[in-house]
Symmetry: C2
Subunit: 447 residues, 2 copies
Amino acid sequence: MGKAKRQMKLNLFLLNAGHHEAAWRYPGTQPERIHDIRYYAQLAQTAEKAKFDSIFLADGLAVGRNIKHGGSYGLEPFTLLSALAAVTERIGLIATVSTTYNEPFHVARKFASLDYISNGRAGWNIVTSGSEQEALNFGAEAHLEHGKRYERAREFLKVATGLWDSWEDGAVVLDRDTGVFADTDKVHVLAHRGETFSVQGPLNIPRPPQGYPVLVQAGSSEAGKAFAAQHAEAVFTAQQTLEDAQRFYADLKSRLAAFGREPEELLILPGICAVIGETESEAKEKEQELNELTVPAYGLQQLKNMLGVDLSSYPLDGPLPELPDIRGINGNKSRFELVSGLARRENLTIRQLIHRLAGARGHRTFAGTAVQVADQLEEWFTNGGSDGFNVMPPVLPEGLDAFAAKVIPELQRRGLFRTEYEGATLRGHFGLRRPANSFASAAPAAR
Amino acid sequence: MGKAKRQMKLNLFLLNAGHHEAAWRYPGTQPERIHDIRYYAQLAQTAEKAKFDSIFLADGLAVGRNIKHGGSYGLEPFTLLSALAAVTERIGLIATVSTTYNEPFHVARKFASLDYISNGRAGWNIVTSGSEQEALNFGAEAHLEHGKRYERAREFLKVATGLWDSWEDGAVVLDRDTGVFADTDKVHVLAHRGETFSVQGPLNIPRPPQGYPVLVQAGSSEAGKAFAAQHAEAVFTAQQTLEDAQRFYADLKSRLAAFGREPEELLILPGICAVIGETESEAKEKEQELNELTVPAYGLQQLKNMLGVDLSSYPLDGPLPELPDIRGINGNKSRFELVSGLARRENLTIRQLIHRLAGARGHRTFAGTAVQVADQLEEWFTNGGSDGFNVMPPVLPEGLDAFAAKVIPELQRRGLFRTEYEGATLRGHFGLRRPANSFASAAPAAR
């Protein structure tokens, strides 16, 4: 028997009425249903039927500055994904949770709970939060500096994994005859005393089915890559060209050995916003139609968020002014670099840049037929650009329905994507091991 | 048409394998399933079929000291209730969440999300957390003092209600033609700057279907009653005798007028742990069998938690020693009073006290036939002792199945309980108004 053909991993990134910033104005989308669990259940069931590895929810802890023209809000990830766990069977469920505005005990516990509720399908997209407005909702006067946020994230993750390990497998005995509920030799205090956190443990729920939820990361700055190389098992990234994707892929994979990790222990999944048509021209028209529905004031605010510069006093059809140095950016550093580089490389006007970013905020947008989309995905996947993709439909449900009905069968015909789930956990789908328990040998036991 | 007969409200308090501390050792219980969503889905669906008003989950933020002989842990309330929201239609879903170890922005948002996911069925049991061990999981060296916890709870609730109000009804416009997503005149910053919290707002989700989740409270201390009289819409309470229940009921209801509230704006629901048999003697035998399955070491630890005194050096079959003054208690003050009063009044030995508390930790336990149970409930309900009950089955699923199959039809025959849901929200079931929005007139708008 020959070696099985390498197959891509596909994550579905769900966002309100779709990823395009004008999605809510596009015919057929359902922005009035973005707080309706049946809307998400239907999307999740479509994705599961198509054998997606997982569903992913982004998250922020403040209303955006743009609520007049678009909705940067929605249901909270733990509650929404737990509800979806009850109406799906196999698909992974990845929640974004910030390490900057949370307590590790709560987060470890909720992920353990989601992992039980879903029978081993939970994933955690670890973010450090990038906006000043989030700080103001949590009593902070100013946003924590970029480097400090990653220091906090490291300690946070250390505490969370320690808490998940605090119950060894087999700790719950349930011996009805002797009355022994738990083997206390297998339940451990953590007694963490660190720079930021002081957490006693054990966690008040046994070790989750997957050991830890799948650890995901999406920051592509230097600090983000260093963190990912050590801890992440999947990385979402925004890459505009194959060359950039290859550079990022090679760079990140090369960093793993330093932590004793193999290349396949970290999956790299660039975002793709595919506008799908029956013909190429239909797809391009659809993309154009969407772009024309954007509101310039919204796009300018998005650019301000990404570049840290207010461009509203410059002519929309003129070039961008000189941009600040990246070292002054305390938000999403890699997105600043991507957007400023894109404008420079392609010599875009402000309006053109807004349109280029409207589809997926800096992620790659591609308009074409299902076969052309599959070609693009195959090219990146087989040429060292990715291990799969973060699929970001421009409009929902249509963009997902088209991807599921046309692109996925094409990928399956090429042997590039599964036709059946092999397992039932997210670790299983992603080919990741269940992590060893750091307490599994002798360690001080809880009373 | 005459006035409709007053009917009782029934909440189902779910706890692992059942409320009796030996439930997990009792034949037919399923302690191995307490992390299995299908177990809870089945219980919730049984309760919904029986027309219970709501399901309620207690919660703590630390593993108990008793894990050798019993499991004081489980799935986290937001995740579990969100999953149950997806597999039920009408029943209310009440989560316990502490104001001492949480941030109001997170809690307000998760309850709004649960309220959307359940279409208006969320309730919040507001607790201030009573144990030292919880403090140690959140970086605190010592547990916050009782009075301070209530001060924090008041400010926490003020912020949470302000955040729920930060979006007026009708703020989400979704005008596809003009590109106006939200009417920013109806979205408000909170700009709260208080003793403990500093929260800007608005919340990143519009006002939930019920306005606020139903606000529930379960502390019966002086501070607890003062808080409840001002804010709570339902109160869970432990009362051992009708006289005590009447005193509590009259006291709490009399405090409402001071806050401009009507008596029916707060429901009082004492706990009842009913051991149900085909005959009275079968019920008593079952109760005895359960009590004999208790482990004295576990009961002693429970007593230590409630009384603040280690009784393990005293003879089990002897009397209790002198207990400390209540003013020295920094945990659950009203439970201390109830337990010490019970031991004194009935002149119980330590073992007898353990057995009396084993069923429901100080809540009333009653063993009898379904008709006798219904008699007891009717007596309290019609004699100024309660507006309904917090039903705490000693063992699950059996205790719930028996209550649903035998006690509820008996109550329905007497006209004391609904035969169909009248509405679809928890406020509807409880006969509570949707609260007015504090921002509903003119107020400073968010950008």
